[in-house]
Amino acid sequence: MTPKVLLAASAAAALLLALPASAAQLTIGFSQIGSESGWRAAETSVSKQEAAKRKVNLKIADAQQKQENQIKAIRSFIAQNVDAIFLAPVVSTGWDSVLKEAKEAKIPVVLLDRDIDPSGKDLYLTAVTSDSVHEGAVAGDWLAKTVGTKACNIVELQGTVGASVAANRKKGFDTAIAKHANLKVLRSQTGDFTRAKGKEVMESFIKAEGGGKSICAVYAHNDDMMVGAIQAMKEAGLKPGKDILTVSIDAVPDIFKAMAAGEANATVELTPNMAGPALDAIAAFKEKGTVPPKWIQTESKLYTAADDPQKIYDSKKGLGY
């Protein structure tokens, strides 16, 4: 008798648990690239948070930087008949056949953070990405506004030569400051997106510009290079944030630490929250049939010392950056 009751009770409990799930809960498969960078780790943890907030069952598959793993993951999501698939594509080509399979299974696919090649535009519902040209422009506009009318010589730490993000962030910044004749990029060199190279290149900028006296601002294509550059400035006896303005992109926790210490001025966020807008788009598509635009641009928010950097640091440091 007792085991039977127990069984019945547990079956009832399972039913209770399963009922709301089958009625409204969405199951979404997310093929994540892997843990190539701190930002990627933060994107994964924020995706989990956003899914939990909306009571979505998010299944994350880590592809360890390999396209074949991503394709396998997508096929298994199709086999599980999930409601939607999120894909952060590791490369931009080679997705046609697997995305066709998803399309035939009537499972919408949303691209996160990166786009794929144009031939596959009808194979996915929408792409949620940041506009890196716009990021550069936000940085340039902040600098132009902060400097005002006084002449300002800028040194630029570029990302890896040939990386599209680096080219775009340069383009956006250059366009923004082109409107202001008092702003001039004095020197521009690649720091390969790393702290060590950012420091080394900044050291050479300081030497080449008479001990850094003629430099008014540093623009770095990512925060890590800026963290290195800040060290170089301090070692040269300069005060970053005061003698030399700093503006960089990404909004990783360590730049907020520097900002709280008064050693950095501004950063433009590349939000790790790509899943939030994607989840909203999928919910609207599933419930009301609203077809989202082909591209959902995430916000490139500017943070300065006025935004309580210590608090942001505390909230961001647990995300896995």
Partner: protein, 330 residues
């Protein structure tokens, strides 16, 4: 200077002087030095300081290459030791941090040495294993993020100064003297060269070739681990994705610029370190020049080609013939 260097060092010294002169042209303040917070400050100091990791790598690499081997894993070993040092820095004292980081290097070296000396694997393949796996190990230690620390002791290793010179430079100098004293102060250097020249003949003559090979790989990894600690101390953080990335190639290049043959049997420590300085002098010059970064690699390739051509015996033979011809015409 020339008394210290063998005659074959002439090409390297000439190359260094020429590159220094070019640096002076592209950047007029290149030789300026001043004191800043008790340490020397100037581009020359940057060359020495930034050249330290590769210089340390060459100290081990040159011995490995002298035994007709090669070690591709040094960059990955740097990442591992840096990750370990950064992870322990804020909770443990400097002696423990250094012991753990260098100990990890020792283990890596034993692994490489075991594969090459005991199992007889081709060095390029044997060390490729750790080159690939090592970076993964480092990423596991740091969980893929940049682990930062604030321990003043470890930071001093990267950013402090002794008598005005950056600490890394002093360490590299000390390691050069130590290595030179050990291998050239005894017959060890000769035995290493014998192993590289003809391992079978050396073994028959009573040289413990296995021990020689094992010990050079261990020394190479320990030097790499030290370079990794310094690189981490420099940026006050361990960046497992980028620390030491491709530096194995710079180290091999430095050894080759230093005139050591990849076929083993002969080596020069001082010239290998000079090779590392040549590479860094060029890198710093490129950064100071203000040319667009798209040209960096091209300039580097042309300079390296020129330095290597300068050492080519065939080419200097041709130049000699040309000069003689001109003289006979005149």
């Amino acid at each position: 200077m020339t008394a210290l260097l063998p005659r074959r060092g002439l090409a390297q010294v000439l190359a260094l002087i020429v590159i220094l002169a070019v640096d002076r042209i592209v950047s007029p303040q290149f030789f300026d030095l001043r004191l800043q917070d008790g340490r020397l400050f100037g581009s020359l100091i940057d060359v020495l300081n930034r050249g330290t990791p590769v210089a340390l790598l060459t100290l081990g690499m040159v011995l490995v290459i002298a035994t007709r081997g090669i070690d591709l894993s040094v960059g990955a070993v740097m990442a591992i030791s840096g990750a370990i040092a950064a992870g322990l820095a804020d909770s443990h004292g400097l002696p423990i941090v250094l012991a753990a980081a260098l100990g990890a290097g020792l283990v890596c070296g034993l692994w490489n040495g075991f594969l090459v000396a005991v199992l007889g694997m081709q060095p390029i393949v044997a060390t490729l294993i750790l080159m690939v796996a090592g970076r993964g190990i480092a990423q596991l230690i740091t969980e893929g993020r940049i682990v930062t620390f604030s321990s003043p002791d470890l930071v001093w290793l990267g950013n402090g100064s002794v008598l005005g010179l950056p600490v890394p430079v002093v360490i590299a100098l000390g390691m050069l003297i130590l290595t030179a004293a050990v291998v050239r102060g005894s017959a060890l250097g000769l035995l290493i060269e014998a192993t590289g020249g003809n391992a079978r003949a050396s073994e028959l003559a009573g040289v413990g070739t296995r021990a020689m090979i094992l010990s050079v790989y261990v020394w190479c990894s320990v030097c790499a681990a030290l370079a990794g600690v310094i690189a981490a101390a420099d940026i006050m953080g361990a960046d497992a994705n980028n620390a030491g990335l491709w530096l194995e190639l710079d180290a091999i290049l430095a050894v080759v610029i230093g005139g050591t043959s990849l076929f083993g049997g002969r080596f020069s420590l001082v010239l290998a370190v000079l090779g590392a300085l040549i590479i860094q002098t060029m890198n710093t010059g490129i950064l100071l020049s203000g040319y667009p970064p798209e040209f960096n690699l091209l300039v580097k390739a042309v300079v390296v080609l020129a330095v290597l051509l300068l050492q080519s015996p065939k080419l200097s033979g041709l130049a000699g013939i040309a000069m003689r011809l001109r003289r006979t015409k005149a």
